[in-house]
């Protein structure tokens, strides 16, 4: 991986490193040449790692006190909130941590979309990322079921019932998933098991994600290939480490604000009512981070087609490196794509909004238009855009933008945008 051979200084170091090259790995990670023009949107990779570790650590502590049983789960959560030392803190960090995790992952994904980080030679990094995102959704959904409140129960009922849309075997699959004929204790215990398992799968995939990243190296705001190491790069430590640390601290301030001052604002009040199979809540809504997909699901009148649309909305992302036909990575040099990008951002936000609203009247109409546009963006606009768009000239390096006199060169430079803002 490293361009030069690393030789430890001490004899013991040499002896150890010959047998297990951990020191070479550590050296690679510190020296790893990183483009020096990475902006703050690139700090979310580190932030996401922090989120994952936070969820695993707080989750371990919660699992020591939580009881995965339909009759005791709700009580055990209240026990954590009241009688476990700092249990309220651990639980609020874990619950809000899920939201923070998704907030960060959405920024991370949309950064990729803007700067074309999914394009060759980074397709594998991108696809691993999509799998991580899928697993995150599964983990978050099952985690939301564990407190066994009303939204837990009915959310689980709605989502698992989606599988009944599969022709012929659907009903059988749902019964198999539930471990019975309705969402009940067997469902809760298996969800707990899987909720405990998935984060470690994610952790493994994160290692692969970073490994795959370290082969071609980071993309960067101007989306060009940089020579490594060169004047265009800085060693990961201390330059990127300190910048990531600064961004992480800013993120933690927002995180802390939620945990300490509005810990329940992102959850649904109904989840503080113990699960009751006989009473259906007025509106069953998933957590905010799943709302865009929920809106897509509900915008299709047919159940099976709705499920297919919802899953396609996620899986279409995996095909993105091939749907986007443009050779230019960064939207900085793609004036048309840049506009469609922001329309897509607005489209997803609108889907999220209507996902929280009842599926009727105007909301349903908006959801349908937004769903159609979502697919239009990926299936029609992106492939055509690559051929039709007149892109701006791209500089050859970060430090020495050649192609003299081109006005877009200024835009490529980190600091020049600052000047414009002043």
């Amino acid at each position: 991986m490293s361009d030069h051979e690393y030789i430890p200084k001490s004899n013991f170091g040499k002896w150890f490193n010959d047998r297990l090259p951990l020191l070479t790995l550590a050296n690679h990670l510190t020296d790893y040449p990183t483009p020096k023009n990475l902006n703050y949107w690139w700090t979310f990779g580190g932030i996401l790692t922090f989120c994952l570790i936070t969820q695993i650590v707080t989750g371990l502590v919660l699992a020591m006190h939580y009881i995965a049983h339909a009759d005791m789960a709700f009580d055990s959560v209240e026990h954590i909130m009241r009688d476990v030392n700092y249990g309220w803190l651990i639980r609020y960090i874990h619950a809000n941590g899920a939201s923070m995790f998704f907030l960060a992952v959405y920024i991370h994904i949309f950064r990729s979309l803007f700067y074309g980080s999914y394009k060759a030679p980074r397709e594998i990094i991108w696809i691993i990322g999509i799998i991580i995102y899928l697993l995150m959704m599964a983990a978050a959904f099952m985690g939301y079921v564990l407190p066994w409140g009303q939204m837990s129960f009915w959310g689980a009922t709605v989502i698992t019932n989606l599988f009944s849309a599969i022709p012929l075997v659907g009903e059988g699959i749902v019964t198999w998933l539930w471990g019975g004929y309705s969402v009940d204790n067997p469902t809760l215990t298996r969800f707990f098991t899987l909720h405990y398992l998935i984060p470690f799968l994610i952790l493994g995939l994160v290692v692969l994600h970073i490994w795959a990243l370290h082969v071609p190296g980071n993309n960067n705001p101007i989306g060009i290939d940089v020579k490594k190491p060169s004047k265009d790069t800085v060693p990961f430590h201390p330059y990127i480490v300190i910048k990531d640390a600064f961004a992480l601290l800013m993120f933690m301030i927002v995180f802390a604000f939620f945990v300490f001052y509005t810990p329940n604002i992102l959850g649904h009040a109904d989840n503080y009512i113990e699960a009751n199979p006989l009473v259906t809540p007025a509106h069953i809504v998933p957590e905010w981070y799943l709302l865009p997909f929920y809106a897509i699901l509900r915008s299709v009148p047919d159940k099976l087609m709705g499920v297919i649309a919802m899953l396609s909305a996620i899986f279409i992302l995996a095909a993105l490196p091939w749907l986007d036909t443009s050779k230019i990575r960064s939207a900085v040099f793609r004036p048309l794509y840049r506009q469609f990008y922001w329309i897509l951002v607005a489209d997803v936000l609108i889907l999220g909004y209507v996902g929280a609203m009842p599926a009727e009247g105007l909301y349903l109409l908006i959801a349908r238009v937004a769903t159609a546009y979502y697919f239009l963006h990926f299936l029609v606009i992106l492939p055509i855009l690559g051929f039709k768009e007149r892109t701006l000239p791209v500089p050859l390096s970060i430090t020495e933008p050649i192609l003299g006199g081109s006005s877009n060169l200024a835009a490529a430079r980190d600091d020049s945008r600052l000047e414009k803002l002043k």
């Binding site: 023009n37 703050y40 009241r82 803190l89 300190i242 800013m250 604002i265 009512i273 936000l349 609203m357």
Partner: protein, 259 residues
Amino acid sequence: MKKFLNLFFYIIFSISFLPSAFAAEKVEYLTTDWSFKGLFGKFDRAALQRGYHVYTEVCSSCHSMKYLSYRNLAQEGGPEFTEAEAKAIAASFEVTDGPNSDGEMFTRPAKLSDKFVMPYENVKAAQAANGGAYPPDMSVLVKARGGGVDYIYSLLQGYEDPPAGITLDDGVYYNKYMYGNKIKMANQLSDGLIEYSDGTKATVEQMSKDVTTFLMWAAEPHLESRHKMGFKAIVYLIILTILVYFSMKRIWSRIETKV
């Protein structure tokens, strides 16, 4: 840096818009100057003690509070009755214990470690006694309702005669803040219903405020330490962020690119 602040505010903005997405049907609730809101929000001890008084005299005949124990009444950050007072309160309730060495169940006065005594044996009994409606457990009630404290506070004062055209069945009452406006709980509060030991005038508004404060504490017993710790944590993080920012500037000044 400016760019980063933009990003920061963008995030805050986009988050602050989220909760509004959940407020599908908005009702203007009554509100009051809750002492426990804000960065340094604390419970008003006297209000908590009065609130417990209202709960135990009025609500507790139908509503349980199964997650609270009598010891909580003496706990820091709560009503902070003295231990002797809390013991006396507990002792005024009878609980069933056992079986004893003869295999018999017996009753004894409650101790600090006992949970609040429940008004009914089980949910079915509660429903039978209340025309089919189960009076919800009040331990986390404030967090289990969309409007939170304002909702409970409004509901208690929201009883009025039904508007023309609405007919109510027997045992159903009109409340302008209730979801669907129909509620199976009759108006419970009236001016001077109870007598506060601290001489506060027991108006409907006062009792609503006190008992809602008490319910807020019941749902969030660690609210005060949460606020205290939160302030310290955020100040700590801000100082650390500033220090790291200057270190970053220093480190990046070795190369010409700005951060």
